[in-house]
Amino acid sequence: MTDVLPIAGRKPLLEVRNLTTEFPLRTGVFRAVKDLSFSIEAGKTLCVVGESGSGKSVTARSILQIVDAPGRIAAGSILLNEPGGSSIDLAKLDPRGRAIRAVRGRDIAMIFQEPMSSLSPVHTVGDQITEALRLHMSMTKAQARAEAISLLRQVEIPDPEKAIDRYAFQYSGGMRQRAMIAMALACKPKLLIADEPTTALDVTTQAEILDLIARLQKATGMAVLFITHDMGVVAQIADDVLVMHHGVAKEYGTAEEIFHAPKDPYTRMLIGSVLKLEQKAEIRLARPPLDAKAAPILEIRDLSMQFGELKALDQVSISLLPGETLGIVGESGSGKTTMGRSVMRLYDPTAGEMLYRRSDGTVVDLARISGRDLKSARRELRMVFQDPFGSLNPRMTVAQVIGEPLLVNGIAKGKELEERVCHLMEQVGLDPAGRERYPHAFSGGQRQRIGIARAITLNPRIIVADEATSALDVSVRFQVLDLLMRLQDELGLAYIFISHDIGVIRYMCDRVGVMYRGRLVEVGDAEKVCNQPDHPYTQALLSAIPRPDPRDRDRSRRFRYIEPTLKNESVVR
């Protein structure tokens, strides 16, 4: 994939040829980007898509020569073509020199993934915007300030005259990214490089930021280089797409070609994984329907949880049937994680009851039990955590991690323990030969399997999975989801599956509860909630999800849900 797309007539804005960026390490040289070529035309959007470690971020940073030390461009050229016909090779410039600094921020600007940490915590937003203006446009202080206010207005920050003197930590997540965009656009760059700018944001905020970038692009005619791992986003905004994997280009073409006639198997896998989330999992389609009349295994009634002033859970009532997968979906701050943790009694809920029906038919209220009762209930209710790194003690071997529940509950020890651990590892698709290894020797997906093995050790009846797959790359995500469903069939488990991703919920779950600000706003059949929801919030949420098809880019359907009582206040996130 070394040939640059032939563009008839005029020169592209930026041409990258045979770029190689490497990091010298003690053990040798690590090539993050290998022999990469692409080009961007003025006014167009190029999406670079790939999973973690694909080198997409390093590519973006190489263009401005701001790769983190000790990274350096080893070969290739990055030609920035001026409208007059002259061009500069950015790769040849001294990374600390005046020439590249004149390009940074003026011709090519950049925004980043974490708007909070990408803005200085001790300087006002205005200070950081005017800086670029004064540097490149030689404006006076007053001119720069006026311009900064107008920029903030352009990115739709309310009350820009006041907002300019605020600090980043006084902004909400979406506002911070808007401020970053205002800063990047300050000098009217010809190219905006956006490095995963919406990954840290909720899906509704993401939709708004994507709209904003598209509108500004149209107004200013700038080109956009958009780095992302999300094929849905790519489908919505890309003119051209570059698919990267392990530092090399797998496929390069127009969005239409990539989505509707992909050639490379890796590209097909990426697209397939998004399309899979458009429907129910095959495993689930093969199952007989659930017995809806069975007595619920867990019944949550008016569960409330208060942290100081904040109502994290507000009278939540929902039930879980035996063998069912109940999805809980919501954006950040909706209380979905609090709910999972309350069920496990990692938090003590402030009010309400959680009635758990044991296998012998007796019912206990999980909210009230303690000591021995809680301990025995926790054998039957288990949890899979979100972070496959933080939830495994790095100082214990895998055998110790998986075997600990058996050991401390006095179920098995010695030889028997070892056999059970081996069996459990096989069950989750891990090679038992690796049981003496420590968690650091495993990849993210493998670690999540270890976490699942630990969860099923005690033959539980319910597993609470809190964002169990959101830290994983798409290619691994399905393996873990399918594993969970296979185990469900084998062990007769009921899941409470917490996620922010409606697609995953649609794929996994029988029923869904939608949470919004601590309340359960809608509960229903997964099929229905994920496709034709009743509640306006769910509808808004669904409308914001980028559809993985470049032919379906109707933005007019999108809207933001505004709580009826708060309609008069300005609710901007």
């Binding site: 054998r379 495994l392 100082r395 401390v408 420590y438 650091h440 630990r454």
Partner: protein, 373 residues
């Protein structure tokens, strides 16, 4: 984020490496810290059996060797053919005819061999048994070897420095041990329970940390009666030093406890049905023990400096107890050091010991967490 810091070992070895192995691999790369480790171990070996490494009885006074200057050791002798062997030449005492000041001159006519594992004065090994075998001994006891010279009473400075290592180095360890006990108990309570207890404990720790230590120690040390036996004095001084030393360690312990309490693997262990005791000892303690060891290593030199300062000011250990601080009192007088600059030798010992421990602690701290880089 959780990449392993150690990358230059075979992946298979790293896969089954426990935390201590990973720490050791990371530490080993720190060359200066390795040197410091060797120096530290050597110093503590000396401190364990100072008598073996000393040459002359450190308490023996010698009127004929007042301010005797240091003597050089020679290895090769060419005066009479060629021979190899450690030897020195005794110094001859003459007096300046005008000022009557002492003048020492090397007398090369008398070659005094140094005997390895020779016999010297009798000393006790850790109070277990007595012996008179020394690493070095001079063949003729009437002409002693003063490697670092002699002090105002003609006592051998080298042997006194070696002997002083025992008290000075151990006082740091004992003091830190007491501080650590207090720090772990108080910091642990504070960090584990949190809430109001934590708040009060934090205020107390902040308060203690904002106190200037030396005036407080001086006041405390002034309260010690003069005539106490050496061991009691020693214990009291360590307790005094711990009086303010615990706060720093308590803060470290508390911080670790607090951050570990929110770790997901601790929550996971709780859900596994692991008892509180096992959570603390099996999950939390191994996670911060390496940090504690590093903090402790960095606290020992501070204690050594403190003891030295106190004893130097005359409010710490008292002669005839021999510690580096007590020895440095001899150097307090500008006239003494002008005639006998070798009285600074205990100071050099302090600097080397403290530097080695600081470097060691620094290397340990860098290697303490092999899971986060």
């Amino acid at each position: 984020m959780t990449d392993i810091a150690v990358t230059n070992v075979q992946p298979d070895r790293a896969a089954v490496a426990s935390q201590w192995q990973l720490i050791w691999w990371a530490f080993r790369r720190h060359r200066l810290a390795m040197v410091a480790l060797v120096v530290t171990v050597a110093m503590y070996v000396v401190a364990l059996v100072p008598g073996f490494f000393a040459i002359n009885d450190p308490t023996l006074q010698n009127a004929r060797a007042t301010f005797h200057p240091p003597q050089g050791l020679h290895l090769i002798d060419t005066s009479d053919g060629f021979s190899i062997g450690l030897h020195y030449y005794p110094l001859k005492l003459t007096r300046d005819p005008d000022t009557l000041a002492a003048i020492y001159k090397e007398d090369t006519s008398q070659k005094m061999p140094v005997v390895l594992f020779g016999r010297g004065y009798e000393y006790s090994v850790l109070g277990l048994f007595r012996t008179n075998i020394h690493l070095f001994a001079s063949a003729d006891k009437s002409r002693p070897l003063f490697l670092f010279g002699a002090d105002r009473l003609g006592r051998d400075v080298y042997s006194r420095v070696v002997q002083g290592a025992q008290i000075s180095l151990s006082i740091g360890l004992v003091g830190v041990f007491i501080s650590l006990l207090l720090g772990i108990v108080l910091g642990g309570i504070s960090g584990y329970y949190g809430g109001r207890i934590d708040f009060v404990m934090q205020r107390v720790i902040d308060f203690v940390l904002s106190l200037p230590t030396i005036p407080i120690w001086l006041a405390l040390a002034a309260a010690l009666p003069q005539g106490w036996p050496a061991t009691l004095q020693y214990m009291m001084i360590t307790i005094i030093l711990s009086f303010t030393g615990w706060a720093q360690l308590a803060r470290v312990v508390r911080g670790r406890f607090l951050s570990l309490r929110t770790e997901e693997f601790v929550a996971a262990a709780r859900l596994d049905g692991v008892s509180e005791g096992r959570i603390i000892f099996r999950h939390m303690l191994p996670s911060f023990s390496s940090h504690i060891i590093a903090s402790v290593t960095l606290a020992v030199p501070a204690m050594i400096l403190a003891e030295t300062s106190l004893s130097f000011l005359g409010l710490g250990l008292q002669p005839p107890t021999i510690s580096w601080g007590v020895l440095l009192r001899e150097a307090q007088n500008i006239r003494s050091i002008a005639t006998a600059p070798w009285l600074f030798m205990p100071g050099a010992a302090v600097v080397i010991a403290v530097m080695a421990l600081n470097l060691l602690g620094d290397g340990l701290r860098d290697a303490a967490d092999p899971y986060n880089k």
